[in-house]
C-alpha cells in the first residue's frame, strides 16, 4: 500500500476536449488524454443522432400508450454512446434502467431492450448474445455482478473488460461500496462509469453526497477516479477508452464520473417542476452533446451535409423499427410464468401451471 494517493485523485477540472461551442480546447491534446481519432468521432456522431432519436421515439411511444414508462437518457446520449463504443465484442456492459441506449449501442435490438418497459417480459433480450446484462432496477445491485463477471474472466485468463454503469444516486447504496472494494481487492477489470446527471429522481446531488466529487470516491478503494465532461463526446471516448485499455492490460478497476444532466423528468410519470427550475434545464440545453460534436466535426470538415443526411436516415430507420416493433402486440404466453422459475419446474409449479391452463381452457370453452 503506497500512502500517496495523488495517482488516485481526479484532476481539479473534468477532462474536456471540445468546448460548448464545438471548438477543440487549446492544449487539450497535450494532456494525458489525446483526442480520439477522427473516424471514431464521426462514428460517434452517427450513434448520437440515433440515440437521441431513440430516446424521443420511446418517449412518444409512452404518450401513445405503447410503453408503460420510459426513463429517458435525453441529454446523456454522449455517455450512452461512449460506454458502448469503447468496448470490444467480448466485453460486458451492465446497464441501469436509464441505459437502454447504451445497450442498443452494443447491438441489442431496441424492441427487445424495451420489452421490460412495455410490460411484455422482464428482460427482452438474451444477455449472453451481446454480453449485456439485464437492465438493473434496484440501484447499484448490478455492480457486484459486474465484478463477478470480470473476476471469472480473470480466473480463466480471458481479456474481458466490464463496463458497469450507475447513476449519481446509486453511489449512495452499500452495493456501490462493496463492488468498488471487491473490484480493487481482486484487481478486476471493471470500469465503473457514473453518469452524474445531477438528480436521483427529485433529490439533487448536494443531498446525495458532501464529497468534493463522486470521482473522489475512488481513492477510498485504491481505485483511480477521473472526472469527465459528460456532454463532450471526445472526452468521454478518450477517458473511457483509456480506462478500458488500462483494465484490459491488467491495470485493475477505474472509476469514471461523467458530469451530465437529465434534461427530462425522471420518467414520463415524474413531474420535475416540483423540484427544479426551468432555467437550470435551459442552461444545460446549451451544452447539448449533439450540437457540440456536430459543430466540431462540421468545423473541421470531417463531415458534410450528405453524411448528416445518412445519419438522419439511419436514425429514422431505427426509430421506425422501434415503432413497428412496439406497435406489434405479441401476447405473452402464460405458460412462461412457470417455465423459467427453475430449469425444471417443481411438482408444485406443474400443478399451478395446470390450474392456469384449466382456467384458460374453461374460459375458451365459454
Amino acid at each position: 500500500m503506497t500512502r500517496d494517493p495523488s495517482h488516485l485523485l481526479p484532476a481539479a477540472e473534468p477532462v474536456a476536449l471540445i468546448d460548448a461551442d464545438g471548438r477543440a480546447i487549446k492544449g487539450a491534446d497535450g494532456t494525458a488524454y489525446p483526442a480520439p481519432d477522427d473516424a471514431a468521432l464521426v462514428k460517434a456522431l452517427g450513434a448520437l443522432l440515433t440515440a437521441r432519436r431513440l430516446n424521443d421515439q420511446a418517449y412518444a411511444l409512452v404518450r401513445q400508450g405503447r410503453l408503460a414508462v420510459y426513463p429517458s437518457s435525453h441529454g446523456q446520449e454522449a455517455c450512452q454512446v461512449a460506454a458502448a463504443q469503447v468496448l470490444d465484442e467480448g466485453d460486458w456492459l451492465f446497464p441501469t434502467y436509464r441505459d437502454t441506449v447504451a445497450a442498443v449501442g452494443r447491438g441489442v435490438d431496441p424492441v427487445e431492450a424495451l420489452s421490460l418497459l412495455k410490460g411484455d417480459w422482464h428482460c427482452g433480450y438474451d444477455p449472453h448474445e451481446h454480453h449485456v446484462a439485464p437492465h438493473a432496477t434496484p440501484l447499484a445491485t448490478q455492480l457486484p455482478h459486474a465484478v463477478g463477471v470480470a473476476h471469472a474472466a480473470t480466473l480463466r485468463g480471458e481479456p474481458t473488460v466490464v463496463m458497469a454503469m450507475c447513476g449519481d444516486g446509486g453511489t449512495s447504496e452499500g452495493d456501490f461500496h462493496e463492488a468498488l472494494n471487491f473490484a480493487a481487492v481482486f484487481h478486476a477489470p471493471v470500469v465503473f462509469f457514473i453518469q452524474n446527471n445531477g438528480y436521483a429522481i427529485s433529490v439533487p446531488l448536494s443531498r446525495q453526497t458532501a464529497a468534493p466529487s463522486l470521482a473522489h470516491k475512488g481513492v477510498g478503494y485504491g481505485v483511480p477516479g477521473e472526472r469527465v465532461d459528460g456532454n463532450d463526446m471526445a472526452a468521454l471516448l478518450a477517458v473511457l477508452g483509456a480506462a478500458v485499455a488500462r483494465a484490459r492490460a491488467g491495470g485493475g478497476p477505474q472509476l469514471v464520473e461523467a458530469l451530465t444532466y437529465r434534461m427530462q423528468a425522471h420518467t414520463n410519470a415524474d413531474d420535475a417542476t416540483r423540484y427544479r427550475d426551468d432555467a437550470e434545464v435551459a442552461a444545460w440545453v446549451e451544452r447539448d452533446p449533439i450540437t457540440r460534436l456536430r459543430t466540431h466535426l462540421l468545423d473541421r470538415g470531417l463531415i458534410g451535409p450528405e453524411q448528416l443526411q445518412d445519419f438522419a436516415a439511419e436514425a429514422e430507420r431505427v426509430a421506425t423499427h422501434l415503432r413497428d416493433g412496439l406497435n406489434r402486440d405479441v401476447e405473452p404466453d402464460p405458460a412462461d410464468l412457470f417455465a423459467h422459475v427453475y430449469a425444471t419446474p417443481t411438482p408444485q409449479l406443474r400443478e399451478q401451471a395446470a390450474l392456469v391452463a384449466d382456467e384458460l381452457s374453461r374460459e375458451g370453452a365459454r
Binding site: H122, L139, S172, E173, I201, S202, R207, Y275, V341
Partner: protein, 346 residues
Amino acid sequence: MTAVAEPMTASPAKRVETEPERGTLSMAQALNRALRDAMAEDPAVVVFGEDVGALGGVFRVTDGLTADFGEARCFDTPLAESGIVGMAVGMAMNGMRPVVEMQFDAFAYPAFEQIVSHVAKMRNRTRGRVALPMVIRVPYAGGIGGVEHHCDSSEAYYAHTPGLHVLAPATPADAYTLLRAAIASPDPVVFLEPKKLYWSKGEVEMPSRAPGIGSAVVRRHGTDATLIAYGPAVPVALDAAEAAAREGRSLQVVDLRSIVPFDDETVCAAVRSTGRAVVVAEAAGFAGVSAEIVARVTERCFNALAAPIRRVGGFDIPYPPPKLEHFQLPGVDRILDAVDDLQWEQ
C-alpha cells in the same frame, strides 16, 4: 439529559374531545393526513426517505410536509435504504419517532438486515430499556402494471420476524387509523400500503374511533363460508362475496388489518360461524402469511371445519411482468372456484 428510554409520546392530553372531522379521501390523502396530524401533535415525529421532500414521495403520500413542517421534520436522504432504516433506529433511540418511507416493496430489501437484526430486536435485546417507536412505510404489492421489483408482496418476511408489528390497511379510513396507531405505538411497525388502493376513496373519520393495532374486522357478514383477506385482497374478496351472493351463496369477509399481532379471536369466530373458509392474499404461497392463517385457524377450529381451509393467492413464481400480472393476482373467479371446492354436501 434529554435522551429518554421511552420517547415522548403523542400527548393525548392535547386531544380535545370534539366531534371527529369526516371527509372523503383517497388512501394516499388519508395517509398524508395521518402524517400531518401526528406531526402537528408531537414534535418528535419526523418523516424521511427518498424523494419525500420537495417531490412529496412518488405516491405523494408526504406531499407538502416539508413545506408545512420544515426541512427538519420531513427531509430527503441519500439513496440508501439500510442507511435510512439504520438512521431511524438511532433517532428512535434518541427521543424521536421516525416514520420512514421505502420507495417500493423490493427496495426495502437492502434494509433487511437493519429491520431483522436491529429494528425487530432492540427492545428485546435490551430487556425493554431501549424502545424503538418507529414506522417503516412500504408501498407494497401489485396490480398497478409496475415493472419488476415494484410489485412484491413482502409481508411474510416481516410477519415471520418476531418484534415487528405488521399492518396492512384496505380502506382510507383504516389507512388513517392504523398509521396514527403505528406512529403512536411504542414498538416498530412495518406499515404496508397497498399500492393499487392509493387512489381508492372512502370516508375517513379524524381522529378515528376505529379499533387499532391487533384487531380484525368483519367487513361483510355471511353464513356459508368465510373469506379471510388483508390489504389489496380485501376489495377483491368483497367483490367475490357480492358475486357469490348473486349465485345464492352467502360469504362472510374478514379484513385482518393487523397481520401481527393477529386477531385469532375475530378470525376464529368468523370461521367457526361458517365452518368453511378461504384465505385470499396476493403473496406467493409457500410459507407465507396465508399458510400461517390456515395453520393457526385449523389448529384452533378443526372440529368446526367441514372442509380444509383453501388458499387463493399468488403462485410460487417471481412477480410477473405487467401483461401477465392478472394471472398472478387473486381474482373473483379463482376465489369462487376455491369456495366451490369446500366439500359442500350435495
